[in-house]
């Protein structure tokens, strides 16, 4: 293995699923990194300079060079540190993995956010829509321990937003968006995830996380009134 002077720094936010997924990937690969907690309400000069286009976390700085957008960062990590591969080798399987990752970020996440941010009928509609999308994930998990197959992969890492954000908000939102009767496979998959050391290490601590989500929900409700 080539010895290089590596400097890996992650500009992130402890409660963000997009930031945490990068930490999972780095930890899975055993890449030492410096985590820099960012205040997104008062963005640091480093963040603005590193991601001038979107001005968002996470940003990975590798030897000072910035990479932005969590899915782009995950692929970069996989391309750069080749141990414990995250994406499959086969081009077709990679295409499928990339498809599900986009589906999770562009459809599931966006729709699930409406559950948190809306009230009444709009909230009910968002719950329905989220469940319809999750039924596709449920199907994918039949006969598999992880979305990546036998072991944790790209899609699992991205889908932690379902396991540890969407499903955690149920307590706060007061609606079981992902009930076990409707989604037994997803529940089984979450248990499998929690058995993985890297996951346990990298997800936000539950109590603080719930407090944070509660506070965010309140502020969202105040905005929509």
């Amino acid at each position: 293995m080539v010895e290089r002077s590596e400097e890996v720094k992650l500009l992130g936010m402890w409660a963000s699923p997009f930031s945490r997924r990068v930490e999972i990937a780095l930890t899975l690969k055993g890449v030492p990194y410096e985590f820099s907690e960012q205040d997104i309400t008062n963005k640091s000069p480093l963040l603005l300079q590193s991601n001038p286009v979107h001005k968002m976390i996470p940003v990975l700085l590798h030897n000072g060079k910035p990479i932005s957008e969590s899915l782009v960062i995950l692929e970069y990590i996989d391309d750069t540190w080749q141990n414990n591969p995250i994406l499959p080798q086969d081009p077709y399987d990679r295409a499928i993995a990339r498809f599900w990752a986009r589906f999770l970020d562009e459809q599931v996440y966006v729709t699930a956010m409406k559950v948190v941010g809306k009230v009444g009928e709009e909230k009910d509609a968002a719950v329905e829509a989220t469940r319809d999308l999750l039924k596709l994930l449920e199907k994918e998990l039949v006969g598999k321990d992880f979305l990546g197959g036998e072991s944790l992969g790209f899609v699992d890492i991205v889908a932690t937003l379902v396991a540890f954000w969407l499903m955690r908000t149920e307590e706060v939102v007061g609606v079981k968006v992902v009930p076990v009767e409707m989604f037994p496979e997803i529940h089984r998959w979450v248990k499998n995830l929690l058995d993985v050391d890297v996951i346990k290490k990298c997800i936000p601590p539950e109590d603080e996380h719930l407090d944070y989500i509660r506070a965010r929900m309140e502020s969202l409700k105040l905005k929509s009134v």
């Binding site: 990479i67 782009v72 692929e75």
Partner: protein, 219 residues
């Protein structure tokens, strides 16, 4: 005889154009099928049940959906000729970032430019020009987004060029006046056979946009 590669597409789609270009860059023989989006074929619905959208690339009967994913797939399956993504991981990440930027920003902004009117259109025009200027700034003085060679970001963006005359006509502005370097880049790309063969006649696209404007009640 059934071809190994089938592309379900819709002729004015700037996303479908990406996949057409990529296949031609690699010299891959494919069957092009134009879909009637008001009456989607059973094959389309079967191959893309989640989104029911074009383009869909079918390779030996297996579907790949999403144009950016298709282009990466094509580059990985046929790696030897005309590489599309850079080999360096950092350059590759930059290329992915910019195609992601195009995917996140272009669609809404360009839609407002030609399919809305009044204040919404003016806002759309401002956003659209800002997006193009950001891209132009990223291009800089390079011949292509990736440098000396035509690649992923060029493929990601060039399809929108056939819609430019329409944006200019219905938005009443000149893109060349705002972004001359980007226009020069587009003309450079058009010199490539894979691009010239994959892009429709802009006049036909203008007609198509006019038809959409009527449909949206903007005309």
């Amino acid at each position: 005889m059934a071809k190994e590669v089938i592309l379900l597409d819709f002729w004015p789609s700037m996303y479908g154009m990406r996949t057409r270009i990529a296949l031609r860059e690699k010299g891959v023989d494919f069957e092009y099928r134009d879909e009637n989006l008001r009456e989607k074929s059973p094959l389309l619905l079967q191959m893309n049940p989640v989104h029911k959208k074009i383009p869909v690339l079918i390779h030996n009967g297996k579907p790949v959906c999403e144009s950016a994913i298709q282009v990466q797939y094509i580059d990985e399956v046929w790696p030897h000729k005309n590489p599309i993504l850079p080999s360096d991981p950092y350059q590759r990440a930059q290329a992915r970032f910019w195609v992601d930027f195009i995917d996140k920003k272009m669609y809404e902004a360009q839609r407002k430019v030609y399919a809305t009117k009044g204040e919404e259109q003016e806002t759309g025009k401002k956003e659209f020009i800002e997006i193009l200027k950001t891209l132009e700034s990223e291009l800089g003085d390079k011949p292509y987004f990736g440098g000396d060679d035509f690649g992923y970001v060029d493929i990601g963006l060039i399809g929108f060029y056939t819609w430019f005359p329409g944006y200019e006509k219905f938005g009443n502005f000149s893109i060349e006046a705002e972004c001359p370097k980007l226009i020069a880049w587009a003309k450079r790309c058009m010199q490539r056979e894979s691009v010239a063969k994959s892009l429709p006649d802009p006049e036909k696209v203008v007609e198509f946009m006019a038809m959409l404007r009527k449909k949206f009640g903007v005309e």
